[in-house]
Amino acid sequence: MAQVLFAPDAPPEHTVYTDDEQLIGGEQNLVTIGEKIGNVCLGEITTPKGWWMCFLFGFTLLQGLVVAVAYLFYMGLGIWGLNSPVFWGLAIVNFVWWIGIGHAGTLISAILLLMHQKWRTSLNRFAEAMTIFAVMCAGIFPLIHMGRPWLAYWLFPFPNNFAMWPQFRSPLAWDVFAVSTYFTVSLLFWYVGLVPDFAYLRDHAKTRIQKLAYGFFALGWRGSAIHWRRYEKLYLLLAGIGTPLVFSVHTIVSFDFAVSIVPLWHATIFPPFFVAGAIFAGFAMVIWLAVPLRHFYGMTDLITMKHMELCGKVMLGTGLLVSYGYFCELWFAWYGQSEYEWGTTLQRIWYGPYAWAYWMLILTNTLIPQLLWHPYFRKSEFWLFTLAGSVHIGMWFERYVIVTTLSRDQLPSSWGRYQPTIWDYMTFLGTIGFFITMFFLFVRFLPMISITEMRELLPLKAGGRGGHAVMENAK
């Protein structure tokens, strides 16, 4: 835009504008946006019933996690359904599932930022929060699925009197680095983006506690030009660092399988296949989270149907990539002429005890999302929510199918079965509870949508910048 970035003749605050790109609904200006988002955190509006329902639901499930993990540490892994051929069970399924869900946040905040996608602005804050909580949920599993979790620190390279490093050839060692880096960068990115918003909240805070808390995290933000300049540079840098992480984390997680010699795990297609699946799942979760925000807090103006439709399109695209992955698995197994690969494929899709899970996965991940081709489904909140649910189920089953592949590997004598126990499910549901609890606490106390960026999104004549300053300045 060949316009000046800062309009000295900014219109008075009561002037309202609507957005022609349908990224902001209603009639908004700097004040309405600030209040719409900020008042939630400052307790200016009554906490909606929906919030309480969701929070209490999540908090209840979270208690299950506490009990399940306590009992697990007390008894040992035997309380889970793990057994001799299937040494990994639901813990790894859930780990990969959660890590995948986390991906959309980083993609939205980092990659779409670099790609100058304005529509990311309404979504990035809560999507990043989703990433962080999802990675936290994911991070629980590798820890608790260890036989001796109290020795988990042995996976980190640190100087010790054993003179031992981790074994760097193992993908599990890479996992530690990948996931911890991912978490750190995501958290930083999120926090940096939050700083101007903290300042807004500090400035509008009504109580002393709010002032102290938001003021502490605002790091003395005064909105000076040098602050903005440094903020924008840092934000851009973090976006640059975050971008490869979107690909690296799930690639490395997929190595947990691909590096092994287990039939159907041992596949080069896994890294891109997993990344696509992660984004697929992540956008499904964004849809799931956007819906309550739109309804409980009336955020329909800020998270518009346009956003929802775009999420649906991304899901459709990545869903096709994932389906291509399923096809490739079959193709390579057949074309590779390996007795075990093909035999296990037949077990997976037809003869084996988990064939139902495979077809469940094809149904929910490949077939049902095809409805998104039609605008009707993309533009219906109900249908988007339903289809995203289907994707959640499908992506979970995808990992379930992969893990239960262990039940039929090379030597038929050791073939077996895997059946999760109540403790497996309790742990899984518990992490969902943890996620919901954390997310709704976030919604209540932190700006769920970036105030700063939404204001910037306003057209210039409305006091905004017609886009994200970081994007525009980076041109």
Binding site: W356, L411, S414
Partner: protein, 1193 residues
């Protein structure tokens, strides 16, 4: 300079010396590990393994036997002679089963027996054992053992018991003993016999009964039918070219089973480079042929060349037909036979007759006496007597005396006894040892009622037993029995050879032996067992006029365990007469079910029911644990409507249960009603079992006394077959009809079966071929007195020993990476060996040749076959290890194992041996059904139907079921022991994030328990699935139980959350290495030049792994693949000079050089150090095999 060193404390606790601090000092695992121990699981485990706190008290009475953890560790002030802390001692002793002795060497640490090995100088053992013997040490420490003498009406001490016995004997003297009855198990002990003779002289009308629940009475009576007198029959199976086994599971479960297995399997190990001196097996043309007619699929059937499943009555008919075909006069008429059995008669008879003097028929102990008599007649006709069959005086005591009939048929004698008991003519009854008639006597005797009658008449019953059991409940007096490893004694082997029992530990419950009870009855003041045994042999020494002093002789006997010259000489028995045989034909009725009662393969007649090791060892062929079942064929199960159901999801077919499940089988419960007696039992479907026939193992369904046999629900494990076992139908119960006698209840039962999948799915892990195929692929060079075999063309491997079709194109390459093969040797030579000199053969060509000829085949014709080569060392070994110090690395050896599938009979002795050696925990049925069995070596078993071409075709589950059900006779079975394959390129190692599983320099794939954090990635990535994980705290860390005493101190007891697996018994390897280094440069130790310098040699065969040592078949070989690279040296002054050529090949190398060698899943390029030799079968060309389909291998 400071004069006074300040005392330093680590904490205030230390300063004040608080109890907490002392506890910290005592705790081996002061933090984390111990805290996570779970009391619930532990208690569960304690129950399982039979722990009880009371025993701790009992043990505490004997200060030397306190658990080590409770003992103060003090140095010996005076070191006891022979005992060095941490160094085990071996004692020769004997373990008996059914009275027959098996010589053992017991390994003892500081007076604590922990492991049993076979005694190489004992004829029944030759160094191997069966699985019962392997579990003997656990029996010593069983916390459920009876700890004291008991009296139902008051207190009891041994002195009190003796006093009462004295009164009884005094009273009986007047009646000449007419009111005294003694019941024992079968006895062969000469000392016992001597005491009993003495007692019989004092009390001539006293009656002694020998009763075995699974005895040899049919065999004994059969011999009497044939020869008019009782004789013992033993076999020399090593001499037999053709063996016909008539339902004789002689390979695992008869008195001579261990020896028979060794002998018979020596003729099944086919070697191209066979060398008789090295006992390396036989040339292809010297292989024996085994026919197995059997009701239940057995180990014999698995190794046999021809197998025919028949009902017991049909087996007898077949024997009669064969006898007739052989021209034996007076054979009674045979019953109806199915077509496939009829087809057997002529070819089998012809084959047997053609090997006159080298053929033998072995008849199963449970077949009728008529069948045994016919068997004797056939053997006589075949000229086998004195060659492959040896008759001796009866080994069992008293069988040539006046009461022989009573001893020959214990069940009949028990019947008389019960009548007498009810009639009140018995004044006192003594039940001594492993005899439990209330549980095991024929159901029609109602022994319990007789015992009640005794109680009502106030007649005393005495019971000597290791555990309180069904019978002891009815006995006023209970005497706790000493374990066999706790006492002096003697016993005869199957051939009469006597071996001694010597105590390896003072009885931890102060138990008594049968000898002591007898001596009390004889009113002897002294109960010294040693004196009693010595007295017997003093007499023998004097009688035989042996040289030297008795003390010297005795010392030698105790040391070797075996008494020379006591083997019974062969006797002539004359021609067997068939005139006394019943003329009726065996009553085979179509569609009528016959039930065969057999001793359980792991807990025998129930005497080992409280032994957790034996309960958890999967039973041969069925892979069942913790239960018995009604074992039947798929077709029979279909008839009972317990057959396959189709599970809609996943298209998975069930074998009446969830077939693919590993560990958990859901099966149907069937009710059996016979003559007013009923029993319910679960169905187990075994492919290849004879149709219309059910095998029902004894020993289960016991009164739940004892934590292990009580099961986890406290109701007792398994199903009591004795409830329907009557005097008339002791071994076979016929005439049952589905519907009237057998009904499906509709209830379900969970069986712990550790292998659900029965097909190889075309992957051929267990490979096999025929001698004909083998010889077709070879050229034979005949040197007159010996032959050489060469593979045709460039190949070194037989087609059938190659990899699955999918990998066929790379088969040469694959063998190139299989450690120990000729191809691999040549690759190493090319890569690392000296470069060929110009004008000579390339070095690798020599080594390729060497693969077969060099150092192995030395012709007696004086022809020099061996050539000198420079052997290539494999420098990769150094790179395999993480040990940084390469310079001083003395680990230059290359350990490897080879397993001959042709010889393996699947007896599971190796599994039991591994459990005993490596402290493998017992996890209980529930955990087994969860698929978490911990055994480091497992016996895989597969079945193939003709439609599946020997397991090479994939089949739909429904089609497979149908094929198995319709072709019972054609089902082939394969067994395959699978320990860790010790891959050189181990998939487990690369994926461990903490390097807890790594290679040692000598190529062992080591497991570092302390480093393991339990990610279990290694186990996922192990294609062999031989890694085992401690999902819960399985090992017993409690200090309050005697069970910890059974642990091998050389092996870590693993904690919860760590992975474990076979280590090739690394503790034995390291001990041998330490020993060798210690003996470095002593005269007894050969020094050799190795690629790492001059080192002491560990001789080939010096190290035996536990499984290898136990294996009765000798199917496992272990050793150093680099053995042939060492050059013997002698020291001259300060220098070493070569003293000869390279060592010959080690045994394991010779096995691996065989063209039948292959690696399981070698196509994954794991380079497994454990490799297999394909099973070679020797089918009779005239007897069309049921699987004569092209590619049937």
């Amino acid at each position: 300079m400071r004069k006074h060193e300040q005392e330093q404390w680590q904490s205030l606790d230390q300063y004040f010396g608080t109890p907490a601090f002392h506890q910290t000092l005592k705790d081996e695992f002061p933090e984390d590990a111990a805290e996570w121990l779970d009391p619930v699981t532990r208690r569960r485990f304690l129950q399982l393994s039979g722990a009880s706190i009371a025993l701790a008290t009992a043990v505490g009475c004997n200060p030397s036997l306190k658990p080590m953890s409770e003992q103060k560790a003090l140095q010996y002030v005076k070191k006891p002679e022979q005992i060095t802390t941490g160094v085990p001692l071996f004692f020769a002793s004997t373990i008996t089963l059914g009275g027959f002795g098996l010589g053992i060497l017991g390994k003892s640490y500081q007076g604590r027996p922990v492991k049993v090995e076979g005694n190489p100088s004992h004829p029944a053992s030759l160094g191997s054992t069966d699985l019962y013997t392997q579990a003997a040490t656990l029996g010593v420490y069983d916390p459920d053992r009876a700890k004291t003498c008991l009296n139902r009406n008051g207190t009891a001490t041994w002195d009190k018991v003796k006093g009462t016995l004295t009164q009884i004997v005094d009273a009986q003297r007047a009646k000449r003993g007419a009111g005294l009855r003694i019941v024992t198990e079968a006895v062969t002990s000469p000392t016992f016999a001597g005491l009993m003779d003495e007692l019989q002289k004092t009390l001539p009308e006293m009656k002694w009964i020998q009763y075995e629940a699974c005895g040899l009475e049919n065999a004994t009576k059969g011999a009497r039918l044939a020869f008019g007198k009782y004789v013992s029959t033993s076999y020399k199976l090593g001499e037999a070219d053709v063996i016909l086994s008539a339902d004789a599971d002689f390979l695992c479960s008869s008195p001579g089973g261990v020896r028979y297995t060794r002998d018979a399997m020596a003729r099944r190990k086919v070697r191209i480079t066979n060398d008789a001196k090295r006992r390396d097996g036989v040339a292809p043309d010297a292989m024996s042929r085994i026919y197995s007619v059997e009701s239940m699929t057995s180990g014999v059937g698995a190794v046999a060349d021809h197998r025919l499943p028949l009902k017991p009555t049909e087996i007898e008919s077949l024997l009669r037909e064969i006898a007739k075909e052989l021209g034996i006069q007076g054979v009674p008429a045979a019953g109806p036979l199915p077509e496939n059995a009829k087809a057997w008669v002529k070819p089998v008879a012809k084959d047997l007759a053609s090997r006159s003097g080298k053929a033998v028929v072995v008849v199963g102990d449970h077949l009728s006496d008529t069948a045994h008599a016919v068997g004797h007649a056939i053997n006589h006709k075949l000229g086998a007597v004195g060659k492959t069959v040896v008759y001796t005086d009866p080994v069992q005591v008293g069988m040539n005396g006046p009461n022989a009939d009573r001893f020959a048929d214990g069940a009949a004698a028990l019947k008389v006894l019960t009548d007498e008991m009810k009639a009140g003519t018995v004044d006192a009854l003594l039940l001594l040892g492993n005899v439990n008639p209330v549980y095991s006597a024929p159901a029609d005797l109602d022994f319990a009622a007789a015992m009640k009658a005794m109680n009502e008449q106030k007649k005393p019953c005495f019971r000597l037993s290791s555990h309180e059991d069904e019978t002891s409940l009815y006995c006023e007096w209970f005497i706790n029995e000493a374990h066999q490893l706790e006492m002096w004694g003697d016993a005869r082997a199957y051939d009469g050879t006597v071996s001694l029992q010597q105590p390896m530990i003072a009885s931890i419950v102060d138990g008594k032996s049968t000898l002591e009870v007898l001596s009390a009855l004889l009113l002897k003041p002294n109960n010294d067992l040693l004196a009693m045994v010595q007295a017997t042999w003093q007499a023998h020494f004097t009688e035989k006029k042996l040289e030297g002093s008795f003390d010297d002789w005795w010392f030698k006997v105790v040391e070797s365990g075996v008494i020379e010259g006591t083997t019974f000489p062969a006797i002539t028995v004359g021609e067997p007469k068939l005139t006394d045989l019943p003329t009726t034909a065996p009553a085979t009725v179509k569609d009528e079910i016959e039930i065969v009662f057999r001793p359980d393969p792991t807990i025998y007649d129930g005497r080992f029911a409280n032994n957790g090791w034996l309960q958890e060892v999967p039973k041969p062929m069925t892979s069942l644990t913790w239960d018995n079942a009604l074992i039947m064929s798929p077709a029979t199960a279909d008839k009972l409507q317990c057959g396959m159901t189709f599970n809609w999801f996943g298209g998975e077919a069930n074998f009446g249960y969830r077939g693919g499940e590993h560990g958990n089988m859901i099966s149907q419960i069937v009710e059996i009603k016979v003559e007013g007696r009923t029993v319910e039992a679960a169905v187990f479907i075994l492919p290849g079992h004879a149709d219309d026939c059910i095998t029902f193992h004894l020993g289960y369904g016991r009164f739940p006394k004892g934590a292990v046999q009580a099961g986890e629900d406290g109701k007792g494990l398994g199903f009591n077959a004795n409830l329907i076992r009557t005097s008339k139908a002791r071994h076979v119960l016929g005439g049952l009809r589905i519907g009237s006698n057998l009904t499906k209840t509709g209830r379900k039962y969970h069986l712990g079966c550790v292998q659900g999948q029965v097909s190889m799915e075309g992957r051929r892990p267990a490979r096999h071929g025929t001698v004909a195929e083998m010889t077709a692929a070879m050229t034979v060079v005949d040197h007159g007195n010996h032959k050489h075999y060469h593979m045709k063309g460039d190949s070194h491997a037989f087609d059938f020993a190659n990899n699955p079709n999918s990998a066929a194109a790379e088969r040469e390459i694959l063998r190139t990476f299989l450690p120990g093969t000729p191809e691999e040797r040549s690759r190493l030579a090319m890569q690392y060996g000296p470069k060929p000199e110009p004008g000579t053969h390339p070095e690798f060509a020599h080594i390729r040749d060497a693969g077969y000829v060099d150092n192995v085949a030395h012709g007696d014709d004086g022809e020099e076959h061996a050539r000198e080569h420079k052997h290539a060392h494999d420098p990769r070994l150094i790179n395999l290890t993480l040990i940084a110090d390469h310079e001083n690395n003395k680990l230059y050896r290359r350990w490897a194992m080879a397993i001959d599938l042709g010889a393996c009979v699947g007896c599971t002795a190796c599994v039991a041996a591994c459990v005993a050696e490596n402290n493998i925990p017992v996890i209980g049925k529930t955990e087994v059904t969860r698929g978490r069995i911990m055994h480091w070596i497992r016996i895989d078993r597969y079945f193939a139907t003709p439609a599946e071409h020997g397991g090479t075709e994939k089949q739909d589950m429904v089609a497979r079921w149908k094929s198995l059900a319709d072709n019972t006779a054609a089902v082939e079975s394969f067994v395959m022991p699978l320990p860790c394959q010790q891959c050189e390129k181990a998939p487990c190692e690369v994926v461990c994030p903490v390097a807890a599983t790594v290679h040692s320099a000598d190529g062992l794939n080591s497991m570092v328990y302390n480093r393991c954090v339990g990610t279990r990635y290694c186990a996922n990535n192990c294609p062999y699935k031989v890694r085992r994980f401690n999902f819960l705290q399985y090992a017993n860390y409690s200090t309050g139980t005697s069970l910890n005493l059974v642990n091998n101190p050389d092996v870590t007891v693993r904690t919860r959350g760590v992975m474990e697996k076979c280590t090739y018994c690394v503790q034995r390897i390291r001990n041998a290495e330490i020993e060798a280094e210690r003996e470095c440069d002593t005269p007894g130790r050969q020094m050799v030049r190795t690629p790492m310098g001059i080192r002491p040699l560990i001789y080939d065969g010096e190290i035996k792994t536990a499984c290898q040592a136990a294996c009765p078949a000798g199917a496992i070989s272990f050793g150093d693949l680099n053995y042939d690279q060492y050059v013997p040296v002698v020291k001259q002054g300060e220098k070493y000079v070569d003293a000869g050529r390279h060592n010959g090949f080690s045994e394991v190398s010779r096995w691996k050089l065989e063209p039948t060698g292959y690696g399981v899943l070698a196509d994954l390029n794991t380079m497994p150090r454990t490799s297999y030799l394909a099973a070679i079968k020797n089918p009779n060309p005239e007897l069309a095999p049921p699987t004569a389909v092209k590619g049937s291998h």
